[in-house]
């Protein structure tokens, strides 16, 4: 049995921090979401007007759509890429240490820098993407990637999807805890590499995969550097996402109440997504 005093010492700090940085601001935000406030002066109570405005605002709808799109891209494109890379590197091919380090490097570089770098990569005149396409004779494929509403949405997802370093390392460390004997036994039984991976490795690290997916959801709900730096949410709001919407409403429009309402919707969406992910995983496990 654990004594109350021990609980206070061990749980106390974490709970205090959670109260201060999560509960207090959340209450603040929820209360303010029902008001109209310009950042200074009194806040005027306006009921659910902010929420009705949000759902009529095409920029907000675009933000929700993009958030869901990024979560989907994260789960169905980025995570499999991380997994595949981890599986390949866990077999220690030639120069595996180099690949592991190289692929992890972008994770230690700040998102702002990566966004700025890709802004230049995708620039229609001086960017490497169009430059490469031109030099291999594929001029017809060049686009004004970030200025064209039809391509911007996909263009800004590129750094998100291909930088797999974090997930790869997470999976690699989990894979390293799988006992050798298990895989050797399967090999002796005649299973080839892919079968081993599919039937043994992946199920063994499913905890880590679930964890990673939860992180991705949390990340997508907070990340605003890519759209902010690369396109400012445009063109015409096609790359708007929830955190950027909140930021714009607070910082430029001085519509703090509206920003808080958008924040509340973000929390609700996050909770729903987490629920869906957890339920989905439980369903997969029960099969």
């Amino acid at each position: 049995m654990v004594k109350a005093r021990q609980l206070v010492v061990y749980l106390g700090p974490a709970v205090v921090f959670a109260l201060a940085f999560i509960v207090f601001p959340l209450i603040f935000v929820i209360v303010l979401s029902f008001t109209q406030w310009a950042g200074i002066g009194p806040a005027k109570y306006i009921g659910i007007q902010n929420y009705t405005y949000l759902f009529k605002d095409p920029a907000f709808r675009s933000a929700i759509y993009n958030t869901l799109l990024w979560v989907a891209a994260g789960i169905f494109v980025q995570t499999p890429l991380c997994l595949l890379t981890a599986l390949i590197i866990s077999r220690r091919p030639f120069m595996w240490k180099f690949f592991r380090t190289a692929l992890f490097i972008p994770s230690v570089v700040s998102t702002t820098i990566l966004a700025l770098m890709w802004y230049f990569m995708l620039d229609p005149t001086v960017g490497l993407v169009n430059g490469t396409l031109n030099s291999v004779g594929l001029k017809s494929l060049t686009r004004t990637w970030l200025s064209d509403p039809s391509t911007a949405q996909w263009a800004i997802m590129v750094p998100f999807v291909i930088y797999i370093g974090f997930g790869m390392v997470l999976f690699l460390t989990q894979i390293s805890t799988i006992p050798r004997e298990l895989l050797e036994a399967a090999h002796l039984d005649g299973a080839n590499v892919w079968q081993q991976d599919f039937f043994i490795t992946i199920p063994a690290i499913r905890r880590a995969i679930a964890l990673w997916i939860l992180f991705l959801v949390g990340y997508v709900l907070k990340m605003f550097e890519y759209p902010f730096v690369m396109t400012d949410g445009g063109p015409v709001n096609v790359t708007m996402n929830l955190p950027l919407y909140v930021y714009n409403q607070m910082v430029t429009a001085n519509a703090y109440g509206l920003a808080m309402a958008a924040g509340v919707v973000t929390v609700v969406l996050g909770a729903l997504l987490m629920l869906v992910v957890l339920l989905g995983l439980r369903w997969m496990e029960s099969r």
Binding site: K3, Q6, L7, Y10, L11, P13, A14, V15, F17, A20, F21, I22, F24, P25, L26, F28, V29, T85, I88, P93, K97, F99, T101, A102, F104, I105, V108, V109, S110, T111, T112, I113, F120, M121, T125, V126, G127, L128, S135, I162, F166, V169, L172, T177, P179, G190, A191, V193, W194, L211, V217, G218, K222, F224, L242, V246, M250, A262, G263, M274
Partner: protein, 280 residues
């Protein structure tokens, strides 16, 4: 289909695909970074001449210019202090909390859920209340204020990671120690902590990188070089009125270099420690 039955052709194809995948991914990852490095040696007109142009003179003018434009060394120092402090604090609190939550007590589920619920909280919307908190604690424009905020905002993530590792410690181990007469605290220090080191390492990597990369609150809570971080400095290159991109790139390269070196040197140690003390 057994290993014997897999036709040689398929094996060759599989191998090629595997290598193609690895190489393409690495190229996509490294090439932009190399372009950044190359561009940091160019002058602005050379930069706009075309993506593949080489600089006429390979000089370090942009690097010294970037250092003059922004006090990058101070920013680097601030970023390091903040990352280390917030990571350490989060790890300590998370480990202690996760350990306490292994035991049964009345509000156990509630506290568990409470600590994890912060995962999707929209910190962007929290600018005003968090600023209020930091300002009234007297920690505005200090590295400690920013570190405190990072500790609070990354707590759910740290807790989740460490809890995951801590839960894999079998109960019998702890039970055996208790039977031997170990106290609540000594079970924690002598048994749990050593076993959970790979989890701590993983958490440390995640947390320190999040702290390093964070921009919004760093911008909000700092207003002079005593507390501005590297991200704030880099952001200044992006919007300042004199648009000197090569200099901005040079600043970026200098900001990236130490972290990449640190990772390259430490990564083997870290991963090996994670694998070696891996459970069973």
């Amino acid at each position: 289909m057994t290993a014997m039955e897999t036709p040689a052709a398929m094996r060759v194809i599989a191998k090629t695909v595997k290598w193609l995948f690895l190489i393409v991914l690495t190229v996509l990852t490294l090439v932009p970074l190399l372009w950044l490095l190359l561009s940091s040696f160019k002058t602005t007109p050379e930069l706009f001449r075309g993506p593949f142009s080489l600089p006429a003179h390979w000089s370090f003018a942009n690097f010294s210019g970037a250092l003059d434009a922004q006090p990058l060394v101070d920013y680097f120092r601030n970023s390091v202090v903040i990352a280390v402090t917030s990571t350490a604090m989060t790890i300590v609190m998370s480990t202690m909390a996760a350990y306490a939550l292994r035991h049964r007590f009345r509000l156990r589920g509630a506290v568990n859920g409470f600590l994890m619920s912060g995962l999707f909280v929209p910190f962007t919307a929290f600018m005003t209340p968090i600023f209020y908190l930091v300002f009234h604690l007297g920690l505005y424009n200090t590295v400690w204020g920013i570190a405190l905020v990072y500790t609070g905002t990354t707590l759910p993530v740290g807790f989740l990671i460490i809890k995951g590792y801590l839960e894999t410690i079998p109960e019998d181990l702890l039970e055996a120690a208790r039977i031997d007469g170990a106290s609540f605290h000594s079970v924690f220090f002598r048994i749990v902590c050593p076993l959970v080191v790979p989890g701590l390492a993983t958490a440390a990597i995640f947390l320190s990188i999040s702290a390093w990369n964070e921009l919004l609150f760093a911008n909000l809570l700092s207003t002079s070089t005593s507390s501005e971080t590297l991200q704030v400095g880099i952001r200044n290159f992006l919007t300042s009125y004199a648009a000197n991109y090569p200099e901005a790139f040079a600043g970026t390269v200098m900001a990236m270099a130490p972290t990449i070196l640190a990772y390259a040197l430490l990564s083997n140690r870290v991963v090996e420690s994670m694998a070696a003390t891996g459970l069973k």
